[in-house]
Symmetry: C2
Subunit: 423 residues, 2 copies
């Protein structure tokens, strides 16, 4: 499949230039046409279901002969329900408010100029992702909604599936009177081609890598285009001295057990010393009963000797599994210091009835989502009310935290005068 | 002055880590203390004036023996008035509203969660700049105002001056009870040290290079940290068929002649064919009278034969001088197409009395500042009402256009619940 490097270069250049030209069209076409295109894309997935499932079967067969693991194979698998869900997601995106053209603010200057900021599309967005083929439709939908063209570079396992999905979406764009090149799939999964793509800073405005830390570091180190990313989600819950213990148990359980393999699951629970004696045995019983392995520091193990010991390394870890570190801390300051040292700027929660502790935690923790008396699992675009999510950023710039349609735009200044000159 | 590479590595690492620690303090210290610190910094520049001017004399002497040009030497020179202006700028920054902690929006979810976005400092900002020593004080002031620590890397010509200014500012921070390391100057202007700095992605959140295109490309190609930049300002004025010709002449004159060496000066004037016959001779007289060399396309030269010919290359050029390209275009679409092809996403203006043309230009031109009936010279943080400016971004992300204090912050999500878990 991999072409010679020279062919890559011209293929990637052409793809980038076509994306740039398509971006101009989709930016200007207006809200109604973008919405029609998204609805047409949903219908095209339904109409193309058998082609998509056939392509997915070829990917699954290749995965089986390559010995791909069960979890990855499950992420890769499509069925009629999953195709229907992709179409439904596109219809939901179509129904979201259009962010393009909004005047975010407008003010008047002493010389009579009206100055405002108008929301505009970013331009061309490249999404680099791994196995899930539904990302192909979701990412394309969100980018188009915000008036952008998208360049998709999926994983090699899902190559046939992604191709079939992209073909359906491109056909729909054409029927809606927009360039098919608003959605393009990179025609090879060769890493050399990806490196070439990451150098097209004149045509591509933003790169969003989604996947394992290795992929993301690869992209971040080579890209000349701005990258929005998160490496990992090492999320914390701090159970304050003034916590409602039943609430703390419920939130910790939800944050670890409801879906341990996702980035907003809790990885370390910090417990205030004054209630460790009461709370830790209950926590051990509640989470242990759900099969969670708890790893504690010396203070925690003195209270619950059955705890496994936690190493320094455990506090940096995103377990993505039914494992959770536990540590006893002296006070709120110690909890915040722990989060600053070991955290990943993703999501942290405090459980407390103390207004002052809640306010300090909210002010002083600089993570992208900070929760008071709520589960870390709410760090999600849909749950926070953004409508849909293209990813999560722990890059402290542009977008920080879950990113929805609005985060795929920027603003330009608009200045309206009647002949003002600068003195 | 350049140390061995190994020494650089530990020096840069230490500087970055100290900046990160200082950033935590200045983020949390509260509005009043940051304001006091800025006022103290202004006083320290006044108190240290003779040391600063002495240091500047040493830089000027070195510049003279190195044969530095007159324009660069003027940028480098400080005098009592310029030191007073630096102090005044810091007091203006001190008086700006504090962006930190603002809840930008807040909404309620169906499950009762309150979700909001709170403005927070970016963290550590590195500013890489060339000869003007006043940038040392301005950039430090803006970064501190927004609750950030700053790492300053100035040009070698201004090394002694920058050192003296930074010393004064650091002393003032200490007196105000903040870490002196909120402001650090990179102790060498060696490019190898700058490359090491650009790799400290764990401690530095944003790099802003200011200077010539060569410096900016050097930074953009090597940085692993997000870079906000603009390469050049190739600004356009489109004189529409429905333009008020006197206004067009006044705005073109202001945009080219008031300060030809700056990035928001006009470089190409596009003239609608229907008024070229009337307008071009007047433009030639008005701008020519101020010493501007106009370079026109064939259509323009058919009307004003005294025009020099414009080459294809001229349309890409940022002249930074009393030179201006002129082109006759068929209509608004041709003007927009010219801007899309040759422009640099900086600033463009239309002169028109036609509401529809004004609206189309405002909507369809994707540059960072778009003006209707106003000079391109207004593309400036102070002029647009941002209070002060750290630079201009033509990176379509985060901040696009002039950047003030608010653009040195981001937002985090804050979530307030009463025990919500995710179902």
């Amino acid at each position: 499949m991999a072409a010679a490097p020279k062919d890559h270069e011209s293929a990637i250049a052409e793809l980038a230039l076509r994306a740039r030209a398509a971006a101009r069209r989709v930016a200007k076409c207006g809200s109604a046409q973008r919405r029609t295109a998204l609805e047409q894309m949903a219908r095209a997935l339904e109409a193309g279901r058998s082609e998509i499932l056939d392509a997915n079967q070829r990917d699954l067969a290749a995965a089986a002969s390559a010995g791909l693991g069960a979890a990855l194979t499950d992420r890769l698998r499509l069925d009629p329900t999953r195709v229907a869900a992709m179409a439904a997601a596109l219809r939901e995106i179509a129904a979201l408010p259009d962010p393009v053209g909004e005047i975010v603010r407008m003010w008047r200057r002493p010389n009579g100029l009206l100055v405002g900021r108008m929301r505009i599309p970013l331009g061309v967005i490249a999404i680099i992702y791994e196995s899930r083929p539904n990302v192909t439709a979701d990412a394309a939908g969100l980018c188009i909604k915000a008036g952008n063209a998208v360049v998709l570079r999926g994983g090699s396992e899902a190559f046939q599936s992604n191709h079939a999905i992209a073909d359906a979406l491109r056909g729909a764009l054409g029927e809606a009177g927009l360039p098919a090149d608003c959605v393009q799939l990179v025609p090879t999964t060769d890493r050399a081609a990806m490196e070439l793509l990451l150098r097209r800073e004149d045509e591509i405005d933003l790169v969003i890598p989604r996947g394992g830390e290795g992929l993301i570091r690869f992209v971040a180190e080579r890209s000349r285009i701005p990258v929005i990313k998160h490496y990992k989600g090492n999320c914390h819950i701090y159970v304050d001295a003034a916590a409602d213990l039943q609430m703390a148990l419920d939130v910790c359980y939800n944050a670890k057990v409801s879906r341990p393999g996702v980035c907003n699951a809790v990885e370390t629970i910090l417990v205030h010393g004054s209630l460790a004696q009461t709370f830790l045995p209950q926590l051990f019983e509640r989470l242990g009963g759900a099969g969670v392995e708890l790893r504690g520091d010396d203070a925690a193990r003195a209270i619950v000797p059955a705890l496994k010991p936690a190493s320094e390394k455990d506090y940096y870890e995103e377990f993505l599994d039914l494992i959770c570190a536990v540590r006893v801390v002296d006070d709120l300051d110690a909890a915040i210091a722990h989060i600053e040292r070991y955290g990943s700027n993703h999501t942290e929660a405090i459980i407390t009835r103390d207004h002052r502790a809640a306010r300090r935690f909210m002010d002083e923790v600089a993570s992208s989502t900070v929760c008071v008396n709520a589960s870390t699992r709410f760090a999600d675009g849909g749950e926070l009310g953004l409508g849909a999510e293209i990813g999560i950023s722990t890059t402290k710039l542009h977008a920080y935290g879950p990113m929805g349609v609005e985060e795929l735009t920027t603003t330009k200044f608009v200045v309206m005068g009647d002949g003002q000159i600068r003195t």
